[in-house]
């Protein structure tokens, strides 16, 4: 359909058809994504790439793998910041780390790590609590390209002022600038922070559990999934957590609507930290 100003407006069935074709061709499944927000991003993609119709978009995506990779990056959300929601990190330190300290070895899964801002925040916090040495962090994301950014650990220096503020609010103990080297307008995070990190591609919508973890951090990822897909992922997390394993979600994400909710207890109701109890 075309609006009065010549703008192409995608219909719901066109988007569904597109996602079914993409799934068949590439194995990426967007059919369980939250409709309103995925539709908005596909719509935005059509506008910025000046594609003329839903059919043209579909043809190009199916024929051109590089174009699909570009599409994948654009419609999945990779925006994050270091120590986003500082009070979450403060709570992690207060409510989760004391138990982790009692373990000889700690396994953490940062699911949907995007470009790594949250990952480095976690590594810094673990380091300051003298837990990093015995930790292994598995950092996964659907997009290989953002994983490469996460591996680089290089962020614009302009953002460091905001991140330093977040770090202080989170209860950071040092001077934030001790963790990076400023160079050519960038902050390059010290490579020792990724010494114990394993990066790999993992798609929560289709892939399976691959290990068992003491803590799973998956913040602001479930919001992109509909309830059905959220249930799949929560079950996947349940399978990846031993009893007393922790699960940390985003501030506005909740297990309250899940059939698996009775497996968990709330450790911090506001910061959405849960612990598996059965």
């Amino acid at each position: 359909m075309k609006a009065g100003n010549g703008k192409i407006i995608l219909e719901d069935d066109q988007i569904e058809d597109l996602f079914v074709s993409v799934k068949r061709r590439y194995g990426y499944d967007f059919t369980g994504y939250s409709e309103a927000s995925i539709k908005r991003r596909v719509q935005k993609f059509i506008e910025t790439t000046e594609i003329q119709s839903a059919d043209v978009l579909k043809d190009r995506l199916l024929e051109d793998g590089a174009f699909f990779t570009f599409f994948l990056d654009e419609i999945t959300v990779n925006v994050t910041e270091m120590f986003r929601d500082p009070l979450f990190f403060a709570s992690l330190k207060k409510n989760v780390f004391p138990l982790l300290k009692t373990y000889p070895f700690i396994k953490i899964w940062d699911a949907g790590c995007a470009s790594g801002e949250e990952l480095y925040s976690l590594a810094i916090l673990l380091d300051e609590e003298e837990l990093y040495g015995k930790s292994r962090i598995y950092a996964t994301d659907i997009s290989q390209r953002v994983l490469e950014k996460a591996m680089d650990g290089i962020y614009p220096i302009d953002l460091m002022k905001e991140y330093t503020g977040n770090y202080i609010h989170a209860g950071g103990k040092k001077s934030f600038s001790e963790y990076y080297t400023a160079m050519y307008g960038n902050a390059i995070f010290h490579s020792r922070l990724k010494k114990n990190v394993m990066f790999s591609a993992h798609n929560l919508a289709v892939d399976e559990s691959f290990n068992e973890f003491n803590l799973i951090v998956c913040r602001n990822v479930l919001i992109y999934f509909n309830r059905q897909l959220q249930e799949r992922v929560i079950e996947l997390f349940l399978k990846s957590l031993p009893v007393f394993g922790f699960l940390a979600l985003g501030n506005k994400e909740t297990l309250s609507f899940s059939v698996f909710k009775d497996h968990f207890e709330e450790i911090d109701r506001l910061q959405k930290i849960y612990r598996r109890i059965i």
Partner: protein, 193 residues
Amino acid sequence: MLEKIEAIVIGGSWGGIDAMIKILSALPSDFKPTLVIVLHRPKNVVNSLEGILKRNCKIPLSEPQDKEEIRSNHVYLAPSNYHLLIEKERIFSLDVSPPVNYFRPSIDVLFESAAQAYGKLMAGILLTGANKDGGDGMKTIAENGGFTIVQDPSTAASGIMPSAALRLIKPDFLGNIHSIIELISSGKEFIWQ
């Protein structure tokens, strides 16, 4: 002409908090439609807006959780640092994609998704603001048959936001905050369903 209304969405910038309080405090506790509001607000500050609005509102008010079911006789406030969207099944979705018009939550993002979910069963209200956010959203509401209400820019603390909307649409109702309150609290023009 009487229109059926299931939900009212309201947007304003940080300076719109006074106008928002006036509207909320005027509405009776049994006000039927769902209200969903976005105020441009700073992020990563201790969240006091919810408390302030709660104290000035007789209708139950909360920030929604992701995938929460939308109820009638309830006011929902878009949380800080997230976009708020409405799904057709009458549930909320949140989104941390980049700011739109420099803001997250953005009024356009809420209004556009609400327009697609509710169609003509809704009204949109755009209040005072110093940014053009909300204009495209009001246009989408109008295109989908919803009822559009714009605060008269000459009566707004900052007229930039309503003026930007007036360049895109001719609203169904244009007036000062008191006449907007009278319109929605009396149910004149609407049937609450």
